[in-house]
Assembly symmetry: C2
Homo-oligomer: 517 residues x 2
């Protein structure tokens, strides 16, 4: 079986798909033409309201085997995906492809639809119970996981063909203009559905908040919307802004956060005009606090911050530490409010932020990023998809995109969680190739990628504890054993491939195999 | 020769083009797919700056016979079109197609390039001296005139294929994000170049105001831009906001404006939630004043106004008479400032506003519009392209789009200008078909389209002077003769067709023939 550039065996054909093995983070340069957009005038009508989702199904002609897409801006509060898919199930549709930008625990009903054949395959990020079902081999066809940028790329080049996009919209008008900044289910940006709206054969806006025409500026524009459906509720506000945004108070993790900013500063990055991305994990958020402190001390202003936005970045904007926020998703109510009211807080779409096959991506302009890992190995490869027991439990998010783009990409993690090492010799699944990771910061020291001599020297000069990644792996193993007993058994993988981990350029960086109980 | 739905003879083949005769304003419903967008990753580079326009020519490989496009947001202050085309001429390029969204008198150097073969054809609006040159038969191939919406449509379906778009940008960053709201050459929106940026094989941002990354929110996005060129000056600020925005003080025209609003009110349109479009002509602007007066009296608020925006509409926004301004082009400095600072003043692009072949157009949602005419005939057909002497001297603008879309489209004009009748039996050139015009308001009374019995009744009930359009034509002839002597001779047309007047759906509504001296 051919081995790809991160040493994983990638079969050339799986489930009728020809796979191109990952060749390196910057090796693919596809040129030519995107797939065309549908040309479908509305014949001068001025009202696209249909009475129900049923009617929208009839108008768009949804039938067996088609691909339906959804965005994840409503996160664990989303009601639209379940509503639509339950209708599909009720209508007896089979073999559908689900192309959400991400799933959350709230989407557990999807498991049943996988089991009864309503859903045959999934292309999108999978969190939680659906991932487990896929790992258990319950789904007929493959799951394909892609990064934020890669999903847009796949839609643009026709690797992901969407029949009907359902777009949960916190506010919309009868002509199909919609955005996420207002309404009982306000979620901030709505950009994860923009490629869907443009390229899908049909785009259906689903809203619980119909407002007078025109709803502007729209994220989803009337020029792409076919139909508008009013429903009682598209989401549960309490779950839309759910609690992923707590700063860690664990002293070990706080120490990691502090050293992260020390490293960044040692590398000469904390200067006027800098830019950064920080995720919503506990360590990343703590790092933001230390960053703010350092910036105040040095009287430095950042040109922009990108994210996944939380109140912590909003506060930096308000304090003047950050000039502009570029927002692809808002993680809390304060961020939604800031996006709605502060002209320096700007919504951007994933094409702009991360698509490697357009003419320019924001990630390429980011000076440093701080991200987490489920596992990281001695080649600096990162796994964020599977747990060490082999189960597929998380999506890629923007991990690959930000790592490849940002000039300095730092992974922060403790060496272990209980008896599970995090730093290890070989990750269970490769999500992000080591060549795009610059440093791994743990409580036992900082490992610097050998291709970053400059960072090594900077860290040393700043008196930071630099360790070899191999040593870190050994320490992790020992500490995990000491803390939680002997290491858990290796995952019991079967032969069957249940999911592909696509790299952002469309090649396959790893496969996920069935887990036998 | 086949005759189209407004009675004009349209040959089936001209200059190698197959022409489809106009069939009626709402008869074409083309479905299928648009042409694909270029897939052209920038290979992870982060700087698209090239040293000069020469270098941009080299990078984009501009050669003989190619199509170069430009926007007209800098109006008569634009320096970029001349700069680029003079370079093309200097490099000895021949047979180019010029695809500007509009030309102005400042672009007179184009005449020489037509004469020496640098430019072989033009697809875009033509104002002034270039139109005269085309009418005199100086251009090798055809000119094709399209409306705002039709230009976008033509680009989307591949009827207008652009090799390289040059986008004059009042502010831009090194990665190709640009907009028109700031800088010494600020012009407001930049949307007329958006279809070009998306669909052209190459997009070159030309700016005199390079700002730190990122310039957001961009009208022209990095995802479409190939190259960025810094030049000394893209425009003359005094000419960018030139004086098209003076309210008439002629009592006859003021009377027409007053009756326009009386008619609109009589039709029940001046109600809460209404919407309107008013052009920048003297009568239209005066009508705005009367409209504001009526709205104040009735305590009515408009949901939105669209235009061509002037200070007069901005004042209505500030007063609270208008809730939102949707702006495709700003005609004065105050409008640019309002767009930059007032979140209720929103930039939209011509695809959103007027493209008949997308899924929804703003024009369809406009309650009433007030526009002018060079000539209007007894079938309510309007000419805004040629003067009565046959010379091609104006573009279509949004005339066809707004007439077709808005629920009530009113043409305001005096019956004559000196000895030239405006209302006449048969317009020299049909720009906008009579079936989309609802009323013609002159100082001699109001002619109502026979397909609008409702408006006829409303006008009568309101005591307005309603006249037959045939009678209006007779009166116009008499008054013109009385005022300026016998009517000027008929235009001395040759056989050769020099320009096509496309309807918004791509059919041909009229042709323009060479004028013999």
């Amino acid at each position: 079986m051919p081995v790809n550039a991160v040493g994983r065996e990638i079969p050339s054909l799986v489930g009728g798909r020809n796979l191109v093995p990952f060749k390196g983070a910057f090796e693919m340069h596809q040129r030519g033409w995107k797939v065309p957009l549908p040309l479908k005038p509305t014949n001068y009508s001025t009202d696209k309201l249909v009475g129900s989702l049923e009617e929208a199904f009839d108008m768009t002609g949804i039938t067996h085997g088609q691909c339906l897409s959804f965005h994840h801006h409503l996160r664990n509060g989303d009601r639209v995906l379940n509503m639509v898919m339950e209708l599909a199930q009720k209508r007896g549709l089979k073999g559908l492809k689900l192309a959400q930008s991400a799933l959350f625990p709230v989407h557990e009903p999807v498991v049943k639809m996988i089991e009864n054949g309503t859903i045959a395959s999934i292309e999108g990020s999978i969190n939680g119970p659906v991932g487990r079902a896929v790992s258990e081999g319950k789904m007929q066809d493959l799951a394909v996981l892609r990064s934020h940028g890669s999903r847009v790329r796949a839609i643009h080049i026709g690797a992901l063909k969407i029949d009907t996009a359902f777009i949960a919209s916190p506010i919309a008008d009868c002509y199909g203009n919609a955005h996420g900044r207002e309404g009982p289910s306000a979620c901030g940006p709505l950009g994860y559905s923009l490629a869907d709206a443009r390229y899908a054969r049909n785009a259906v806006v689903v809203t619980d908040n119909l407002a007078p025409y025109p709803v502007v500026p729209p994220t989803i524009s009337q020029v792409y919307t076919d139909w508008v459906v009013k429903v009682d509720s598209i989401g549960d506000p309490d779950q839309i802004s759910s609690g992923t945004t707590k700063i860690t108070d664990d002293p070990i993790r706080l120490d990691i956060a502090k050293n992260t900013i020390k490293l960044v500063d040692a590398c000469g990055i904390v200067e006027n005009g800098m830019s950064f991305q920080a995720g919503a994990g506990g360590i990343s958020l703590a790092a933001l606090n230390y960053l703010a402190e350092t910036m105040r001390k040095k009287k430095v202003k950042a040109r922009f911050a990108h994210g996944g936005i939380t109140i912590h970045i909003v506060k930096m904007l308000r304090e003047g530490l950050v000039e502009q926020i570029l927002d692809t998703q808002s993680f809390d109510a304060e961020s939604v409010e800031s996006l709605r009211t502060d002209p320096r807080h700007i919504e951007i779409e994933p094409d702009f932020y991360a698509n490697p096959f357009n003419k320019g991506q924001l990630v390429n302009m980011i000076d440093f990023s701080v991200m987490s890992a489920t596992e990281v190995d001695i080649d600096f490869n990162v796994n964020v998809n599977t747990h060490s027991d082999g189960y597929l439990l998380h999506g890629i998010g923007g991990h690959q995109d930000v790592a490849a783009g940002s000039k300095c990409c730092i992974i922060t993690c403790p060496t272990h969680r209980k008896n599970w090492p995090i730093v290890m010799d070989r990750v269970t699944t490769v999500t992000t190739p080591g060549e795009t990771i610059d440093a791994v910061i743990t409580e036992e020291g900082i490992a610097i990628n050998p291709n970053r001599d400059d960072m090594y020297e900077a860290a040393k000069s700043a008196g930071l504890k630099v360790v070899d990644i191999q040593d870190l792996s050994k320490i992790a193993k020992e500490k995990a054993e000491k803390a939680g007993g002997p290491p858990p058994p290796e995952p019991n993988f079967g032969d069957r491939i249940v999911a592909l981990i696509a790299y952002r350029d469309g090649t396959v960086i790893d496969v996920v195999r069935e887990v036998k109980k």
